[in-house]
């Protein structure tokens, strides 16, 4: 016990680089009691909690300047439009300074990927073409491609993963070939935590004249991302996984590509001119944003970006490396726990999937919850991957800026107690 405590205080002082104590004060939900215990929220890969500034932005919007956007000539409409469009500027800046026209707002990362598949995909993918994805994709970046391959008669090829949870690139030149039209892969796995060498894969794909979609749902919230430097063609993510409100997704795509893409949802806001037998489209990015947008949440995404910028994405990454290091160390001490994903913490994000050799992940998570510890259990929307790992489900602890080594300790204590409850009880 003493050893652990020393470890803890040692790592805590490093954590304080990020002044987690101050950060926690900004998140009202962290005071929540769960079953008599203070909430230990370790389900950040599913969705993160929100700082007061984000909550306040929604309140101020509705109490101060709620109105429908665009073309509105009254004060409220102008204020709402300008606030919403400011978020677009901030989003464009956040991922490396792209053009505001290159940022399309959707409901979530899932819709962003589906927009690419339905619009770009159906137009450009033909029978005999090859679509390449990986074995570690979230259903959002898997099912749309399965369906597109079925519909078009294209081949769907998988980049395999190895024993340690890395992409196995040994055969990559036979996978990404001149037949390949699109490569779609996750920047960071939501199950294994693996951070993939996307720049390398993008460069190989481009040599083969294939475009690349990066699923950044787990990367943009947790590390600096510059889509220009990566040279990604499409990049998607969700606001709700990075302190922002639910209901906001982002699709970045290069302007030339967006210009070539047809909209898939038709209605108000996205048109230029409509006659009874004719319609043409508004300029970018409105062309892809039909109907009344999720205005309040778009407005409230800005303070989430501000919050992340204020801390600094480098520091956030550093904090997650530290807490994940500690988490892996402590979990490895439990001989009944098996951990998935890369051993080297520099190759992974703040996500630890594990199983207890005797307790089913559902029972385990339910038990952890009774101690106030929130983790996710199941297939994490990656059924084929979880099956590959040789299990039916895992438990997953995932960290963010407000998590502490203390909370890791509480997870570990609860795992030990679960053994007593289910196994040696």
């Amino acid at each position: 016990m003493k050893v652990i405590d020393q470890n803890k205080s040692h790592l805590k002082s490093e954590n304080s680089l990020l002044s987690v104590d101050n950060i926690r004060k900004d998140f009202p939900i962290l005071d929540r009691m769960i079953n008599g215990h203070k909430l230990v929220y370790l389900d950040n890969a599913a969705t993160t909690q929100k700082p007061q500034t984000v909550i306040d932005a929604i309140t101020s919007y509705y109490a101060g300047f709620n109105a429908n956007v665009h073309r509105g000539l009254h004060t409220l409409a102008e204020e709402a439009t300008s606030a919403m469009e400011k978020t677009r500027d901030k989003t464009a800046a956040f991922i490396g300074g792209v053009k505001r026209e290159e940022i399309v707002f959707t409901r979530n990362a899932t819709e962003s990927i589906n927009l690419v598949v339905s619009s770009w995909g159906k137009k450009n993918i033909k029978q005999g073409d090859r679509i390449v994805i990986t074995q570690m994709e979230h259903h959002a970046n898997l099912v749309p491609w399965i369906m597109l391959a079925k519909e078009t008669g294209a081949e769907l090829e998988y980049i395999p993963i190895d024993q340690n949870g890395y992409l196995n690139l040994s055969n990559i030149n036979n996978i990404i070939t001149p037949k390949t039209k699109i490569v779609a892969l996750t920047h960071m796995s939501n199950v294994l935590g693996t951070i993939n060498p996307v720049a390398e894969i993008i460069s190989l794909a481009h040599k083969n004249n294939a475009l690349v979609l990066i699923d950044g749902a787990q990367s943009v919230p947790h590390m600096p991302v510059d889509v220009k430097t990566l040279d990604a063609d499409f990049y998607v993510f969700s606001a709700h996984k990075m302190l922002g409100p639910t209901g906001v997704g982002v699709l970045y795509a290069r302007e030339e590509i967006l210009n070539e893409m047809e909209p898939v949802i038709f209605g108000g806001e996205m048109i230029n001119e409509v006659r009874f037998d004719f319609a043409d489209w508004a300029e970018l990015p409105m062309k892809f944003e039909a109907g009344t947008p999720n205005i309040a949440d778009l407005v409230a995404f800005a303070p989430a970006l501000d919050y992340l910028n204020k801390i600094g994405m480098d520091k956030i990454r550093q904090h997650e490396i530290e807490i994940t290091t500690y988490g892996l160390e402590e979990l490895r001490k439990l001989d009944f726990i098996k951990i998935f994903g890369p051993d080297n913490v520099l190759d992974r994000g703040g996500v630890i999937s594990f199983v207890d050799d005797k307790i089913h992940s559902h029972d385990l998570s339910q038990y952890l919850d009774s101690k106030g510890v929130a983790v996710r259990a199941g297939h994490h929307c990656a059924q084929p991957l979880v099956k590959l790992l040789g299990v039916t489900s895992t438990s997953r602890a995932s960290f963010y800026i407000y998590n502490t080594n203390d909370e890791v300790d509480q997870l570990v204590e609860a795992l030990k107690a679960a053994r007593r409850y289910f196994v040696n009880g």
Partner: protein, 155 residues
């Protein structure tokens, strides 16, 4: 919820989970049926040995959580020697009990009553239902001569 947890993982359930009945596969079954709960990843195989219109024995091979294991164990225990009609009646009661609906309390369901605590945890209801859905599907298929595909608690 520590108490709610104990409500769900009652002693009876934990005992069925640790020492599940009907765990050893029947070797010459009259009916064999797989069941899946893709959302959980749970998979079971049910085998039934019939004695005319009565169930002689049931085996439940289950790779699932405590709740699905315990529920399968209770199924194996209670169904032994029951008629098909009785088994369907019990399956109906289990469903009602798990979903918090009304059911015939006069019918003796033995240990199964302990599953009641599960209805506080809607996500877990499917776990407890899997073996029952699979068994009823198996019997129906046998009776109607339909093709046997895997049962599921979704859909």
């Amino acid at each position: 919820m520590a108490e709610q947890l104990d409500e769900m993982y009652r002693d009876i359930i934990m005992e069925h989970y640790r020492f599940p009945r009907g765990h050893d596969k029947i070797l010459n079954p009259d009916i064999t049926k797989e069941g899946r709960n893709p959302a959980c990843g749970d998979e079971i195989e049910i085998r039934v040995k019939m004695d005319k219109d009565k169930i002689e024995t049931v085996s439940v091979d289950c790779a699932g959580c405590a709740i699905s294991t315990a529920s399968g164990s209770m199924l194996a225990e209670i169904c032994e020697g029951k008629t098909i009609a009785e088994v369907k009646k019990i399956a109906g009661i289990v469903k009602a009990l798990l979903k918090g609906e009304k059911f015939d309390k006069s019918y003796d369901i033995g240990d199964i009553e302990a599953l009641q605590g599960v209805n506080k945890f809607p996500v877990r209801v499917k776990c407890a239902l899997l073996s029952w859905t699979t068994l009823v599907d198996a019997i129906d298929a046998k009776q109607t001569g339909r093709q046997l595909t895997a049962s599921t608690t979704e859909g």
